[in-house]
């Protein structure tokens, strides 16, 4: 079971840094989510890990770089493109071609097609495939060698809700067998359900890594919601204890910087009556947006400035 160790990864395009001194680990038995805004360097990082892009640093899979692996499909399954296949080569032939390079028998091709729900279109040309079917075929290729590690770039793109649930269960099951999954996604609620660990990047640099709960817990959006008829008095007392207090509506305060028990005790000691005392936990999305604030490569402006013809800029990863 492979530990992925990425060390000091770096890559520039025309002098502009895309990935900067990026180091992290991916542990077996876990799903590690890879998050970052558009242009943060996620896809570039994955390509660097697999030796597809030339750059600084090293990535090893159980101590071995990808380019030194014998028959890499048996070790690492990768999905980096939405439709990484020729549009007129049938799905089955595409997989047979990949299998031929790794000594994988034809029956394994059929197994994987069945597992991915593609048996009925096995002899069809992928140019007719929807985005979701294309993703399934890409996943089939990644799983073909029964690898111990999966590296997947946005595998849920184009999948319907059932497909997303299916891929979540697939990857969770894969990790439960003690294998490693490193997966990027923009679907943060989905990532919250799927990932155990996170690696968060912005502008090519590491912002955070570790268990997903720790990441969410570190958010300033975590707060205690208090309802009281003496909101002004309670706010003064809590601020005196170093808390940040915000009035969210008349008679309701959002308190951060103190835990729920302490807020209750402070109110009790001050003789202040409480009608509600409840924790408000930040979502992964809130924690992510907070952590990556100012780290977006491309920003959308909601309101055009007067006199301008357009204001929205967006883009894909610089690569």
């Amino acid at each position: 079971m492979a530990v992925i160790e990425a060390r000091s990864l770096g890559k520039s395009y025309a002098g502009k840094p895309a990935v900067v001194d990026l180091s992290f680990d991916v542990q077996p038995g876990s799903v590690t989510g890879f998050l970052g805004p558009n242009g943060a360097g996620k896809s570039t990082t994955m390509r660097l890990m697999l030796g597809l892009d030339k750059g600084a640093g090293t990535t090893t899979f159980d101590g071995v770089p990808f380019t030194s692996l014998d028959r890499p499909m048996h070790h690492v399954g990768a999905l980096l493109e939405a439709k990484p296949f020729h549009p007129t080569r049938t799905a089955r032939n595409h997989l047979r071609m990949l299998a031929s390079a790794s000594g994988i028998p034809a029956r394994r091709v059929d197994e994987v097609l069945e597992q991915l729900g593609l048996s009925s279109v096995a002899r069809k040309k992928p140019r007719t495939f929807s985005m979701g079917m294309g993703q399934r075929l890409g996943l089939a290729a990644a799983l073909l060698g029964d690898p111990h590690t999966l590296i997947l770039d946005e595998p849920a793109n184009g999948l319907d809700p059932q497909g997303i649930q299916w891929i979540r269960e697939l990857l969770r099951g894969f990790a439960a067998q003690g294998r490693s999954v490193f997966v990027s996604s923009h679907l943060l609620p989905e990532m919250a359900l799927m990932a155990d660990q996170l690696v968060v990047v912005g502008r090519g640099r590491l912002i955070a890594s570790g268990p997903i709960q720790d990441f969410v817990r570190s958010s300033r959006r975590n707060a205690v919601l208090v309802r009281t008829p003496q909101a002004t008095d309670l706010a003064d007392v809590l601020r005196g204890r170093g808390a940040t207090v915000e009035a969210v509506e008349p008679g309701a305060l959002s308190v951060s910087g103190l835990d729920l028990e302490t807020v209750g005790d402070v109110a009790f000691d001050a003789g202040i009556r409480l009608h509600e005392l409840s924790p408000r936990t930040a979502t992964l999305e809130e924690a992510f947006l907070e952590a990556t604030e100012g780290a977006q490569e491309f920003e959308a402006h909601a309101r055009p400035e007067p006199g301008t013809t357009g204001s929205t800029t967006s883009g894909e990863e610089a690569s």
Partner: protein, 273 residues
Amino acid sequence: MTDALRYEWARIITIRSTYWLTGLALAFAMLVAGAASWGFATEADGGGGSQAQLGLDLLGPWLGTQFARGGAPYFVGYLLAMIGILAWGHEYRHGQIRATLTTLSSRTSVWIAKYVVVNAWVAAVVSACYWVAVLVGVVWLRNYPADLVTGETVGGWGRAVLHAGLLCSLAMAFTGIIRNQTAGLVLLFLWPLAIENVITLIFFLVPRLREHEALTRFLPFGAGNRIHSDAFPNLGSTTFGDPLTWVGGLVVFGGLTVVLMAVSVVLFRRRDA
């Protein structure tokens, strides 16, 4: 290396363009051989006499090369070079290269396997085209005093395979360098059919260049054609004389091919996929 060869073999036999280009080459070879044989037979039947016999004696052994031995472009070679262009073109046009390099981690093996497998396919198809064309002629002209299979015929076969292999390798190298299938296809036809002819014309029209017009024999595709066309009545005298011998043509055209292949492999190993 064996894995890379298996992969490339599976790649080439599971793509439709391999078959339609191969079929087109075979059909073209049969069509030209059939048309030429029909022409010879018609002329002989029409009382062409010694003229008809001269045509048979002179051109008959060139059926297999589709008259490239007489200086015509070897169209079968150009058709099959497209298989080489698509070998790299599909990798980059459809993002297949990343799937390839996550399946086979040795870039050098991938590069070598492409050249070996594609050239083996091209050599087999050129041979088939060549002998099918000869067979069409032998069957059609069996009742005429035609000597279609001579030592020259066998030599022409070897040169046809050699020229097609080099042409295909050059096209592959160029496509691998620019990583653009369309540009590869355009250049394959534009360079020999337009660029070299324009250069030759400029040498002919500009007085100061006219005295150096013989230098145009070193234009690579024209030199490559000498691999076929170093034959009577246009035999080269010395290797790099005017005209070049087939060995001279081989050195010039093959030299360019080797240089482009070297650039291609270096870039393939160094560049991002």
